[in-house]
């Protein structure tokens, strides 16, 4: 397909895209708001009263869903932020009395405390190398610590019985219903637009494959911490509303049990669906209030059983089931319409000011060592590579080739020596900062975002250079000529709306290569880019790489086992054996070397 063709496909859909979703959202939100406005006139006072609380909880569930369903952070601690907001309010009103200024101050204090706590959690939980389980553990410790602190407050915080009897914002139940209803609708709409935007896809990318995100130059720890802080602030506002509305706070609202209950609501509603958790929470909490009186323990037992069944059998929750059923029914009654694909427009990125002919070597490795305890994997590695060069690293399994790649792409990995990229020392920088210096790394196993589409994967790869839209799908992805060339040559441009997991092995490899090139690197590290590819695909990749080296003046470092491939494309070959460089020379020198035959065949002694 030609260049013009791609653009045409894109531009026809772009207009449709920009107007319609927003109008749709506003329309849907307005209908729900009308419903909220009318509801109190059709319900008894008790139901209205219960629903206000249910909607506050729904806002909490929404924040948990963003963290767990989208970002993949299983949090048990959202209750602590809720309690921060609620207790700040209760304490201010108890000891200062009620006034509108104090009410305003209370929400600010609550948010400040929640954000400070969240900052501490984020500092502990989201650091380079922390596991998902560890992050969950920290969020589990938080409510325990906060509950104990509330207990230790003694009479000041009301200890185990909490605080009550303070004056709050004087509103009728109906007024609270409208206020909370509007807040929830606005919050949900905002969250919906954010999660559907390009930046929202980034959350999913982090959930799917955080390592790849880091090697795309994205500081995932910072992104996670930021989202966590925002969700903490939402929790604090919900707590503020709760304290104002119920006029009671007790340590239970800070607890691990409430934190886990939020997870149950989100899981039942459907994680990662936003509407599921909101609707699910309202239904469950409302039903609990009505049924708990008649069947107190049986109701909770039923919830427990349903929860376990949903986790086991329907990991995505109940909402997807409902919407699938609805789609099926619609399919039966109406003529099936072709899916409206949001075609993405690919275009050339404007050249960033980078000298094409750069003086000095692109990559200097000197005296690099890597030890695991007493085991020495690499020692005394010295070599240089210049722009426009394709250097192949060869050597038998266990020679340390991949380890060397890792040391170049992640400054914290080597045990000794220095590495510089384009004249800059990488020191102990983490991968995302090495990317900034100009390193792009392609992994041995194709490492892409499985549930995202090809187009979205490419957009995420560009996120470092082209900030993503936080409220809509931009529908455009700017790629440098090299990445665009790979996409076109391998036919990926016709798969832009295909989820990456459905691609063939070869296309996945090509996609990852395009993603790495989208970073506009100076040095690219390719770990067995042709492994598992067919002969044709291999030739194609080889041609592309040679072109990249000559036209883009890229420095390409390649790990390969296929010596024919190496011979065809390399300008130089480095032979690694038992962690040392045994030969560094031209292709002919290496191919005719007795030493290489010895190393590979293990004979000749």
């Amino acid at each position: 397909m030609s260049d013009a063709n791609v653009k045409e496909l894109g531009s026809s859909s772009i207009q449709r895209l920009q107007v319609r979703p927003l109008t749709k959202v506003v329309f849907a939100a307005s209908i729900v708001l009308i419903g909220v406005g009318a509801a109190p006139f059709f319900m008894d006072a008790y139901s209205v009263n219960v629903l206000v609380r249910s909607m506050i909880y729904a806002a909490m569930a929404l924040s948990v869903d963003i963290l767990w369903g989208y970002l993949g952070v299983l949090t048990f601690g959202q209750s602590a932020f809720f309690a921060a907001g609620a207790y700040a309010t209760a304490l201010v009103f108890t000891y200062g009395g009620f006034s509108p200024e104090y009410a305003f101050a209370a929400v600010l204090i609550g948010m400040a405390v929640a954000v400070a706590l969240a900052g501490l959690v984020a500092f502990l939980a989201f650091w380079h190398g922390a596991s998902a389980l560890y992050a969950s553990v920290i969020t589990l410790v938080l409510p325990i610590v906060v509950t104990q602190l509330l207990f230790s407050g003694g009479t000041y915080t009301g200890s185990s019985s909490g605080l009550t009897g303070f004056d709050t914002i004087p509103l009728s139940t109906e007024a609270w219903f409208w206020a909370v209803g509007v807040w929830l609708v606005v919050l949900t709409t905002g969250a919906w637009m954010y999660t559907r935007s390009d930046a929202g896809r980034l959350l999913i990318a982090i959930r799917e494959n955080e390592q790849r995100c880091k090697y795309l130059g994205l500081n995932t720890s910072k992104i996670k911490a930021l989202v966590f802080l925002i969700c903490a602030a939402i929790g604090a506002i919900a707590g503020w509303i709760y304290a104002n509305y119920t006029m009671v706070v007790a340590p239970e609202i800070a607890g691990f049990t409430f934190g886990t209950e939020l997870l149950i609501w989100v899981a039942l509603g459907g994680r990662g669906t936003l509407f599921g958790p909101v609707i699910g929470t309202i239904i469950i909490d409302y039903a609990s209030a009505h049924l708990q009186g008649d069947f107190p323990f049986v109701w909770k037992l039923v919830i427990g059983i349903v929860f376990v069944s949903v986790i086991v059998a329907l990991p995505r929750g109940i909402l997807p089931l409902v919407s699938n059923a609805a789609n099926w029914l619609r399919g039966r009654t109406r003529k099936a319409q072709p899916e409206q694909y949001s075609q993405l427009q690919l275009c050339k990125a404007p050249r960033i000011e980078r000298n094409i002919v750069v003086a000095g070597p692109a990559l200097v490795v000197s005296g690099v060592e890597k030890r695991f305890g007493s085991l020495e994997v690499l020692s005394g590695i010295d070599f240089e590579a210049t722009y426009g060069e394709i250097v192949s690293l060869v050597g038998p399994n266990g020679a340390g080739k991949t380890t060397l790649m890792t040391c170049i792409a992640d400054g914290s990995k080597r045990s000794g020596g220095t590495i510089s990229i384009g004249g800059q020392d990488i020191a102990h920088r983490p991968p995302e900062e090495c990317v900034r210096l100009g390193v792009g790394r392609k992994f041995q196993m194709a490492n892409v975002f499985d549930t995202l589409t090809v187009g979205e994967c490419l957009q995420i790869a560009r996120a470092r250079l082209d900030p993503l839209s936080k409220w809509k799908k931009s529908g455009v992805c700017q790629l440098p000529p090299s990445a665009l060339h790979v996409v076109r040559a391998t036919g990926l441009h016709s798969d832009l709306d295909v989820p990456a997991q459905l691609l063939s092995h070869g296309k996945k490899q090509a996609l990852e290569l395009a993603m790495v090139l989208a970073l506009e690197p100076k040095v690219i590290l390719l770990d067995e880019p042709t492994a598992g590819l067919t002969k044709t695909e291999r030739t194609l990749i080889g041609t592309i790489l040679t072109e990249l080296a000559t036209t883009e003046q890229l420095c390409i470092l390649l790990v390969e086992h296929d010596l024919d491939f190496v011979r065809d494309i390399s300008s130089r070959v480095i032979v690694l054996h038992q962690g040392r460089i045994v030969l560094n020379g031209s292709v002919d020198e290496v191919v005719n070397s007795e030493l290489v035959k010895t190393v590979y065949a293990g004979s000749g002694h």
Binding site: F297, V298, K300, G304
Partner: protein
């Protein structure tokens, strides 16, 4: 000084007893069993039943083992088995099982607090200080449990299979070890141990449907800090249990209640593998 020292030793012993079942399941299955608290509660109620039937209080312990084992076996078959590849979901599902256990117990008994007859009453004089005999008996039991589990893992063929599964499950399966069976037995054993621990701690804590939650958190933290070794669990019990006793003594029991969790979080931040030497 002597009572504090004894408190540290006996607290560590109790924590070891409470955590060993969880550690076994975590070590073999790489799965965090949040139903551990519920199983502990089952054990507590087994002791209550023994008291209600007028049996010798010691009978409550094998009774707890049987109840816990049966429930654990059932849970593994019906729920846990399908979640081996989804560790975070397994935490949630087992927490759900814990809720089911708690509610079922509430339906059979009630929400109130129950008491079980302690197997041993009275105090014994140690260096002139009177000290609870039962806590000292628990320390001896913890030692026996540790030795017994180590011997079982080292000395039996099932133990050998279990260790193989812990180290490298794929390889173990390739060598013809039925890892499904190993998992099933481990989960049953871990559940039985949890219930036994629940019965053993009844003289020290009241029995109610939520008695397991606080213990679950402590046990969970200890296991995370210990990795999958019974030795490092003993070490972690002494260090964290000791810290808890000291903080409770000098800063009050409220802050003592969060010592284990907070300290474990910090330890894991500094050293992600915790006290495990691997």
């Amino acid at each position: 000084m002597v009572p504090v020292l004894l408190d540290i030793i006996t607290t560590a012993a109790i924590l070891y007893i409470v955590s060993s079942g969880l550690l076994l399941v975590f070590g073999v299955m790489k799965l965090i069993n949040f139903a551990h608290g519920g199983l502990l509660t089952i054990g507590g109620y087994a002791a209550v039943i023994a008291t209600a039937l007028g049996l010798n209080p010691w009978i409550g312990i094998p009774l707890a083992a049987v109840f816990g084992g049966i429930v654990g076996f059932g849970m593994e078959r019906v729920v846990v088995r399908s979640l081996y590849n989804r560790p975070l979901d397994a935490i949630l599902a087992t927490w759900g099982l814990s809720i089911i256990i708690g509610q079922a117990i509430t339906l059979v008994f009630d929400r109130g607090v129950h008491f079980a007859e302690p197997p041993i009453r009275g105090v014994i004089s140690i260096l002139g200080e009177p000290y609870s005999t039962y806590r000292l008996v628990l320390t001896a039991l913890a030692l026996l449990l540790g030795l017994g589990l180590t011997a079982a893992l080292r000395g039996t063929s099932l133990g050998l299979s279990t260790r193989a599964v812990i180290m490298n499950e794929d390889l173990a399966r390739g060598l013809g070890i039925n890892s499904g069976l190993v998992r099933s037995i481990t989960f049953t054993l871990g559940s039985g141990l949890a219930a036994v621990a629940g019965a053993l701690i009844t003289p020290l804590s009241s029995v109610d449907p939520n008695m397991g939650v606080a213990w679950l958190i402590s046990a969970f933290m200890l296991v995370l800090v210990s990795g999958s070794s019974l030795y490092s669990l003993a070490f972690a019990s002494v260090v964290l249990g000791g810290a808890q006793v000291i903080v409770s003594n000098y800063f009050g029991s409220v802050l003592g209640g969060m010592t284990i969790a907070a300290l474990a979080a910090v330890i894991l931040r500094i050293r992600p593998q915790g006290f495990s030497y691997e």
